[in-house]
């Protein structure tokens, strides 16, 4: 499998890649981030409060509404022509790259620059959790005879049950004992991106927690190891048919 660690796909199904670094932050508050934009790299001027953004339909007094819950955890800044989102929060930092994904090197270097800005604000707080998360969306051509033709992690439906599947949501938690890390993998059918495909989200989150890291070098070394593991996990979830689709 080692040849798969660094395999590049021209049509990579990555919809979002997230580097998440959490700090021990007993004394941080929202006020720490009020003037963040002055220390952000160029192109991150667009500032938004980090909010939940979850819409919930409800019926109030006979009127249907959809409301969003807001939560003041920090600030999000959008840059990279709307493809980069960095969150500066009281409990840590998260950097997202939205589709089209470029390369790990670009993701890591951008995250490093932004992490330095975060460090300037919060100081040398110990890092307690590091996570790397890739949200993939596989668009599988219809009709699908069997999910096993494309994915290797799926809910097995008993042959005594009807074999029509309208949806599923699956989560597995698999310790990565050699790394002292954990994998949480969510897989779900989602509304398709076009009528001729079935879309499956493959959400891979590998993380280490219970850390107490002071040095930035250690952080990026951990992320390199998580990234190689994430690649193996992705390859472990797909078949050659899927590799053909995304190559």
């Amino acid at each position: 499998m080692s040849w798969l660690k660094d395999r590049h796909y021209d049509k990579a199904p990555i919809k979002e890649a997230i580097i998440d670094i959490q700090v021990e932050s007993p004394s941080l508050s929202l006020a720490n981030f009020e003037k963040v934009d002055i220390s952000l790299p160029k192109g991150y001027a667009e500032r938004r409060k980090v909010m939940m953004g979850q819409l919930r339909g409800q019926l109030e007094g006979g009127v249907l509404t959809a409301t969003a819950k807001q939560d003041d955890m920090g600030y999000a800044f959008v840059g990279g022509e709307g493809k980069h989102v960095v969150q500066f929060k009281v409990n840590g930092f998260a950097f997202s790259r939205l589709a089209p994904y470029q390369t790990w090197k670009q993701l890591r270097n951008e995250a490093k620059t932004l992490w330095e800005s975060y460090r300037q604000i919060v100081g040398a707080l110990p890092v307690v959790r590091i996570g790397l998360r890739y949200v993939n969306q596989l668009d599988l051509p219809l009709p699908i005879r069997d999910f096993r033709d494309f994915i290797r992690l799926y809910p097995e439906i008993s042959s005594d049950l009807p074999q029509l599947l309208a949806g599923f949501f699956l989560q597995v938690q698999i310790p990565q004992e050699d790394l002292g890390a954990m994998l949480i993998l969510n897989e779900a059918m989602v509304p398709p991106s076009s009528p001729d495909v079935a879309s499956v989200v493959l959400d891979i989150d590998v993380f280490k927690q219970g850390l107490k890291l002071e040095s930035d070098d250690e952080i990026w070394n951990v992320l390199e190891a998580l990234r190689l593991r994430k690649n193996l996990i992705f390859e472990g979830c797909i078949t050659n048919n899927t590799r053909e689709l995304i190559s």
């Binding site: 979850q54 249907l64 409301t67 989102v85 589709a99 959400d203």
Partner: protein
Amino acid sequence: MPAVPLPPFRPDRFGPAVHRVETPSYNQRTSELRDDWLRRLEQSTFLTIKYGLIDAEGALDRISSMERDWDSYGAEPPNANAVRASKEILEELAGALILPSTIVPSAEGGISIYFMTGHRTVYIESYNQGSQTLVMYDHNGNAEVLEIGRDISRADVAGRILTYLG
């Protein structure tokens, strides 16, 4: 015939091996899973926008099935024009990473999509007859009304909302 001794039980022969079960109770696990999923949704911009848009379109579908006089003052229900125009603007705004705060039917006949921050509110009203307005106001009573397509181009709406809401 001598009895054949059974091999010792080896859980690792079964795949996947289960060495420990970290599920103290079903209720607790359900609650943990829900919280975990909400955190994951919140962390991912892609999923937040994707599911936010699905929910918003669900709200539009529910609103579109309202009947005449839904407010007991004789209001018309939103028609297909208003629903289509609202869907289109929602999709465009989602592309700019903007989700609505609230979606409500309009007493004027149409649909209003609200975007709110602390002291400022923006809404886009899509009328049954096909026009759309962008309304911005704050708690001090300052307001600005722009007709989309005449006073502001559709492509500039997202930027204007972001600038106004800060």
